[in-house]
């Protein structure tokens, strides 16, 4: 066993490149764990981020000259902690208003000693998705604090300016500190609500930037998959955590089949689907089914598993899909689920039933919803009402940003000569 004395160094690779590479690796592997340790007792995310950034900057310089320490993470934590204590003391001597300076310094000295890094990332996830935090900033906050993503990257995925995103993140961190939102894993009695908020935020990361079959370069699929696995690792007895991992894995298994031009699910070549991912998803879904009563993610994962079965059987079991959608629309009703159910109705029972289901949706909500118009257009086309289908495709296209998906809709519309 190697001791983790942060002062011991690995004598190889004393050059800037190695230092860069090791610092980069440590950053990606350990960022969230280090940040969670630093802010766990102070509730000050921004100060912890600054201290950690300083520590990484020093590491790049120092490791290039003196070699990489035996335990890079412990080294970074020690330096960051010192920076944090320094900044609190400086604020104190400047008489900057810092009400809890003494408490903060006390708390910092209680941070675990290097080498015994406890993992507080689950608490960090719960803090980011706290009900007192604006839901729209929970996902960005997670991506930044747990994965160390830069505001610019997050902003590009959520289609807002970097400065707007940075501002939202700063506001959220200020709220955490000022309102005293604790960095703790809540008691299991409030999990149904609190854990759902964590999973929703991760799912939002997965769907952000997905925009109907883009090429995947601008989305956060890998990050979301990683976060979902992290929750699963922490809470292996939680059905919905396994279900979310299964859901993401099923969707990701089809990535190879949807690069370049938009290919709808029903036209995808199942040989291109990632067999290993599907099998892993199956395992997680079975675990979820064993652990608890089905929730939203278990239904959604089950839907994807029915689609994945086409790789094995060559056909889609539409009546099974319809039954799961019926259950989903009761368990977690949403406009998206109702529209997807109508699309399944189209295959299972034909255009009349599908249009009837679409007509039943509240018109004030669906009017500006592209998937509604696209589903409606497909049903009308199937029912040979080409003029109405042409118009509905037109509405869908007008609501869809420039993307491979829009190209697909345009092609569909052009087949409906009106």
């Amino acid at each position: 066993m190697r001791t983790s004395d942060p002062c011991r160094t690995i004598p190889v690779g004393r050059d800037a490149q190695t230092a860069n590479r090791v610092a980069d690796l440590a950053a990606r592997r350990a960022y969230g764990r280090l940040l969670a340790s630093l802010c766990q007792r102070t509730c000050d995310v921004a100060a912890a981020e600054d201290a950690l950034a300083d520590a990484f900057a020093i590491a790049l310089h120092r490791w290039a000259e003196q070699g990489v320490p035996d335990s890079p993470e412990a080294w970074l934590l020690q330096v960051a902690r010192r920076k944090l204590v320094d900044s609190v003391r400086r604020a104190e001597t400047r008489k900057t208003y810092e009400p809890d300076a003494v408490r903060v310094i006390e708390a910092l000295t209680m941070v675990q000693s290097p080498g015994q890094l406890a993992d507080h990332r689950l608490a960090l996830l719960f803090t980011c998705a706290h009900p007192a935090i604006d839901p729209s900033v929970r996902t960005p906050l997670m991506l930044q604090t747990v994965l160390g993503l830069e505001a610019a990257r997050i902003a590009s995925v959520f289609l807002v300016s970097t400065s707007a995103m940075a501002q939202r993140l700063v506001r959220a961190k200020t709220k955490i500190k000022a309102a005293g939102i604790p960095f703790v894993v809540p008691e299991p009695d409030v999990w149904p609500v609190r854990l759902d908020a964590v999973l929703s935020a991760i799912y939002a990361a997965y769907t952000a930037g997905w925009n109907w079959g883009g090429d995947g370069s601008a989305d956060l699929a890998d990050e979301a998959e990683w976060l979902a696995r992290l929750v699963c690792e922490f809470l292996p007895e939680t059905a919905e955590a396994h279900a979310l991992v299964a859901l993401i894995l099923y969707c990701e298994s089809r990535r190879p089949a949807r690069t370049g031009a938009y290919v709808p699910l029903s036209d995808q070549d199942t040989d291109q689907w990632d067999q290993a991912r599907i099998e892993e998803a199956d395992t997680h879904l079975r675990t979820a089914a064993r652990l608890g009563p089905p929730g939203r993610y278990q239904f959604e994962a089950a839907i994807q598993s029915v689609h994945a079965d086409r790789q094995r059987t060559g056909q889609t079991n539409w009546s099974a899909l319809l039954a799961i959608y019926d259950a989903l629309c009761v368990e977690a009703p949403s406009l998206g689920a109702e529209i997807a159910r109508a699309a399944v109705l189209l295959e299972a029972r034909g255009p009349i039933e599908a249009l009837k289901a679409l007509d039943a949706l509240p018109s004030e909500k669906v009017g500006s919803h592209a998937p509604y118009w696209a589903t409606r257009a497909h049903a009308l086309k199937r029912g040979n009402d080409m003029a109405s289908a042409h118009e509905a495709f037109g509405n869908a296209i007008a609501l869809t940003p420039e993307s491979p998906a829009r190209g697909y809709l345009e092609h569909q519309r052009d087949q409906c000569f009106s």
Partner: protein, 115 residues
């Protein structure tokens, strides 16, 4: 941390205070909440209940006017200031407030005034 829990009562709750049929239950609920929850969370808590919003007088600029600040179905009915560990503890306490059923409460950290 110190938090102020402001209680925004529904007009029906204000009316219940002066209704002989409803007043006993109204006050019993509040007394129980205060004794079992608020005082239990922080024995040194402070706070007060306020009289009917119709008794309020508002000043904006130099204009003095009859009535509370905003004309809405929920009005400030009282407040507590408690010193508890963190926001989760304060929220748990606030969620049990009798006003939540028809009205609502706001939980805000108290600003420690620089000396």
């Amino acid at each position: 941390m110190r938090y102020m829990i402001t209680i925004h009562e529904h007009e029906e709750d204000f009316a219940a205070r002066n209704n002989p049929d409803l007043a006993p239950a109204y006050w019993a609920t509040w007394h129980a909440y205060f004794a079992n929850e608020v005082a239990a969370a922080d024995p040194n808590q402070t706070g007060a209940a306020l009289q009917d919003p119709a008794t309020a007088t508002t000043i904006r600029g130099t204009t003095i006017q009859d009535g509370p600040f905003a004309d809405s179905k929920e009005q400030l009915g009282g407040f507590f200031i408690v010193d508890v560990e963190n926001l989760d503890v304060a929220l748990k306490l606030a969620a049990k407030c009798p006003a939540c059923e028809k009205g609502g409460v706001e939980v805000r950290p108290v600003l420690p005034v620089p000396s």
